[in-house]
Subunit: 728 residues, 2 copies
Amino acid sequence: MHIDRPLRSLRRAIVVIAVLSVGLPLTSSAQVTTRKPPTRVPKEPARLPVPLGPAKYVKEAGTMWTFDAPPLDYWKQTYGFTPDSAWLNHVRLASVRLPGCSASFVSARGLVLTNHHCARACVASASPADTNYNTTGFVAATLADERKCSTLYVDQLQSISDVTQQIRGAVTAKTADAQVQQRDSAINRVQTACQTSTHLRCEVVTLYQGGMYSLYRYQRYADVRLVMVPEEEAAFFGGDPDNFTYPRYDLDMALLRVYQNDSPMVVTDYLKWSKSGAREGDLVFVTGNPGSTGRLLTLAQMEYLRDVQYPFTLAAFDRTIAVLNTLSAQSAENKRTYENLIFNIENSKKAITGYRAGLLDTTIMARKAAFERDLRARVDADPALRPKYGSAWTEIANAEKQLTAMAAQSNYYGFSFNPPFGSQLLNWAGALVRLPAQSALPDAKRLPQYRADGLARIRQSVLVDQPIDSTTERMELTSFLKAVQQGLPPNDPYRAVVLGVRAPEDVAASLLSGTRLASLAVRQALLDGGKALVDTSTDPMVVLARKIAPIADQTQAAQARLDDIISASTDKVGQALFAVYNTKLPPDATFTLRITDGVVKGYAYNGTIAPYKTTFYGMFGHATAFDDKPPFHLPDRWMQQRAKMDLTTPLDFVSTNDIIGGNSGSPVINRDGELVGLIFDGNIESLPNRFIFTDDVARSVSVSSRAIIEALRNVYESTRLAEELDGK
Amino acid sequence: MHIDRPLRSLRRAIVVIAVLSVGLPLTSSAQVTTRKPPTRVPKEPARLPVPLGPAKYVKEAGTMWTFDAPPLDYWKQTYGFTPDSAWLNHVRLASVRLPGCSASFVSARGLVLTNHHCARACVASASPADTNYNTTGFVAATLADERKCSTLYVDQLQSISDVTQQIRGAVTAKTADAQVQQRDSAINRVQTACQTSTHLRCEVVTLYQGGMYSLYRYQRYADVRLVMVPEEEAAFFGGDPDNFTYPRYDLDMALLRVYQNDSPMVVTDYLKWSKSGAREGDLVFVTGNPGSTGRLLTLAQMEYLRDVQYPFTLAAFDRTIAVLNTLSAQSAENKRTYENLIFNIENSKKAITGYRAGLLDTTIMARKAAFERDLRARVDADPALRPKYGSAWTEIANAEKQLTAMAAQSNYYGFSFNPPFGSQLLNWAGALVRLPAQSALPDAKRLPQYRADGLARIRQSVLVDQPIDSTTERMELTSFLKAVQQGLPPNDPYRAVVLGVRAPEDVAASLLSGTRLASLAVRQALLDGGKALVDTSTDPMVVLARKIAPIADQTQAAQARLDDIISASTDKVGQALFAVYNTKLPPDATFTLRITDGVVKGYAYNGTIAPYKTTFYGMFGHATAFDDKPPFHLPDRWMQQRAKMDLTTPLDFVSTNDIIGGNSGSPVINRDGELVGLIFDGNIESLPNRFIFTDDVARSVSVSSRAIIEALRNVYESTRLAEELDGK
């Protein structure tokens, strides 16, 4: 679940970000892409017997509740737990948001607890030039030793109010374009007015795809200092292989402190530390900022992901891994260079394979189908809803059907894959050819990636001063061309232009021997020369890009039109859901504060039972089982302090709380509002929860509060911090 | 993998044995049942291009090599390992067979190493009246303290010779019945002659279903004494849940000693103890006695198991578990009474689900199909083989098709299920009705279960003095009747006789209120009274059994005829395989000594990597993760000695060796012929190996030689034994 590991070059960064934007959990606030959808037209739903009865909570929607609509009846019924508003306000104020992550106040003097992997940038900025505290770990011996982060801030949610009517009331136009503009202006007005009057950071959050608009007001704290962080080998023990899995043995924590006027901030609403920690069967809450879920996607959209988009993405991963493995086999240096990247891609594969596993699970999909059938029946049975929303599912299904029909074209037509694996030089050539044409169009008429600040970003990417490794380039280009050869029929116009009857290896060789695009000066000249120069260039890569562009542009434009239809209809589905259920069902994740209930609980796995927790004994067991080889190597400090530790102390534990990317660093809280744990991952069985929530075997994984105290006292020997957390 | 746990009553014993005879790995020497097979007629195999080339080793057949046909070329090619005959003879003589298990000589003074779960009967017989060393553990402080077992003997394989011609030559008759008789007489003659001349125990082993007959000569050692056994909590740590799984933390070992003339036997061929143990990547051999595999089953047979037999069996398990769970919920005593039985059945479910998983795996089945296609093509291409064997596959497929058509009848017609869940009283009634009729028939005309000593066994089962719990009886009878109601159409003659239009609950209630069969005296009288008394009995259970018998007998007889056809054709398939491949492919397991090669190696599991070994740290980690609750509770002795132990010592490890039930207790041997481990289980991924061998993720699980020394020295404080094993 670590997506922010150091990157070797911008080129690699682009690749990795592209991989990760597909949807790794935690630390990403990106919306799940609803761009493309389905392979089969969903059958017309069978009508339920009328009357349908009142709409009730269904588990498939998960438990990511907003703080202005806590399900008090549901909690009372399920757990006999009835928190008062003081309890809810307290845990809300104690829970904070970091860029891409979650965290909590854990002492009266401003200590903030989050994950090691959420504090990486902060830790790096606080490290001296010759070392990296992310790797070595860091413990401030005194207050004076706490080190300022340049990159981090902490947002605390002060209040929420419903502004749906204000936003809706402003939308009076007849055309969709004008409606969007009115809506966006209204949102801006509300935000600005709020900021002016409160001096808080104000954000209008779109819930239920527009079913509800809420105004969230945050206090931002910008003076954040690094207090303590373990070594990466302890925080991310087990590395990429163990990522997304459980049993787990990670101390994935970091302690920061908020300062005001150069003194530790005085905090009233902080989470007290639980002495007993999480016990099996305990009710626990997670308060944090889940980034994005796709639970309102329709069956048709899910089927498209399952049958078209994910298989293409996984095939692209496999091609890239094959290239990288070949490169790695060529030298020890290559092996070192590509090792992390391969692991990262393997991890993305793991994630997508996990999402897809849920979509392939007939039981899970049957639950989704029943839920959708019920919702559609309720919409159809309501004369006020049916005209507004009734056709949305069919509209999506039809668009998905068309996208499926053009899936091979969407996948191959262009200059590389999406995510952008393939030839960097061909990518640049494509950008050089498209930039003059796209610049000349009004924003709304451009290809989606050239809209808004996209044009400037793409222009910049052409001017990055990045050396090209010719072996890598040849292999990636050849791999792409081979995929084109296999994926498109011989009479396909794109294939005809790119390959003709020539072998992929030959085409790649002649393109690469002739092109001069590896030179930044050449690219700069072409960019400066504009359309006139690009149109007359004889650089073979540019010549090819000129032939590709019209074919690819047409497909991309057609795809964009279908995506817009799907996007509009998806909004209708969300609004229909809200109209039927109101806040009885939580909205999809929006990287805003939610509270999710769950139970500390083991589960069936591997033919046996996964224990509800692990201990430090298990951590040493895991390390010794792998002969202490990385990523199963423990830091020297841990080996030295071993005899002083109580190895029976719980280390990590699992619970049924509903979390996803963005929840990293969230506190786990017991009935008494005490902190018992720190979310840092989900097990592999939880990946399908992105689309349909289940809790039979899906679990969130946390660091135990007891492990943190034990490590502070006996590994890091920081009585100061242990006692501060203990409230002494 | 423990099938010999203490049983509460004979009734329960029958149930459990029936469950287990379906095919749990290890400690069972039963043949895989080939009784019933397939649901679809296999398609006519596509013909391969001719010429086929020489028949070569294929991995699907596994690596259970006989000692008279070691694959020296294959080993040389694969591992660069070329053992001489001295090496092979040495490890053969050091490897021994126990009833249902395997073992090895591990000292010059007769020490024998096997599993705790293989020595249970021995340990029980050596325990004093007031204690059970199986539970408490036992360490003989001196030679004089070693305690005689009454039940165990050790068989050492002295030599093997091929007697195929002797057996084949004796078969001259034209009819199948006469041929079988001639073959069996020839086998008897060979065995008797061998025993008379050598005074060894001689067994003719049928390999490749009659493709080859080998004479195995054993020296038997009957004075076996208990030397050391750990507590069950250490040997079977993790209990039934962890059974068939890995990572694992079990010290599943026992040390016995062979005596001659009241002194430790002097042994020349014993396995020296490896100092280093098994390391990742090491080539290792397992020498032991695998009980039974079904790799020569045809596709049609496998499909029948997958689609008909296993689903019925699993449904029967589920029904029984439901009954037992209901009973368990009624009282704490019931919970205690049924806990182990439920676990046992869950374990059988786990095993069968695992076997079936392989059959459901399209990749694995495609390999099987390719193998079968190749074999059939070779048979068809050979004018000598085609007339003898060419039609066998089609004959089996046709018979399986007929069995499938009558599957519901075979499953339900009778007095209970096979395996015999259901009403004990109805079972007795059935036996009372059938016994007079079956006794009157010649052996060959009887129902299969009444043939040979079956008749006497069934008679005895009726006379067991066993109390009937009326609640249990009512629930099991009702559960059976409900299954009949659901599984058979309303116009079915059996259902008509048993239920008519009445509800299962009512039928059960009226049967149970009227019957007097719970009384042993009543059953004895009916048995003594024979047909006359049974025919006139008005006991409602007997009346019902009289109606069932003719319907059930007819179906069972039809099924027996089809089974005979399948059995004869399966023999032809085995002989065809041997004719084509000779000993290039190892034969199916026969509970005789085999040597299998493999590599010590982790594998992909749970989204990450399973380590090639576990350590004592992990054992304490596993115990503490489960809060030391049984079956994850460690013995007090272990907790007390913890500080003295080197917890980094390897405990268990995995390798790719090809093992199955009967291999329990087999030594794991390195290139130098040293003992590095002790087989005790397979991982859950290895269950499909029963039918088709793969080693991607399937692993055998062993206790490390180093764990044994560490435990002897620092847990059990037996320097005497540790040094004897160390060769000091």
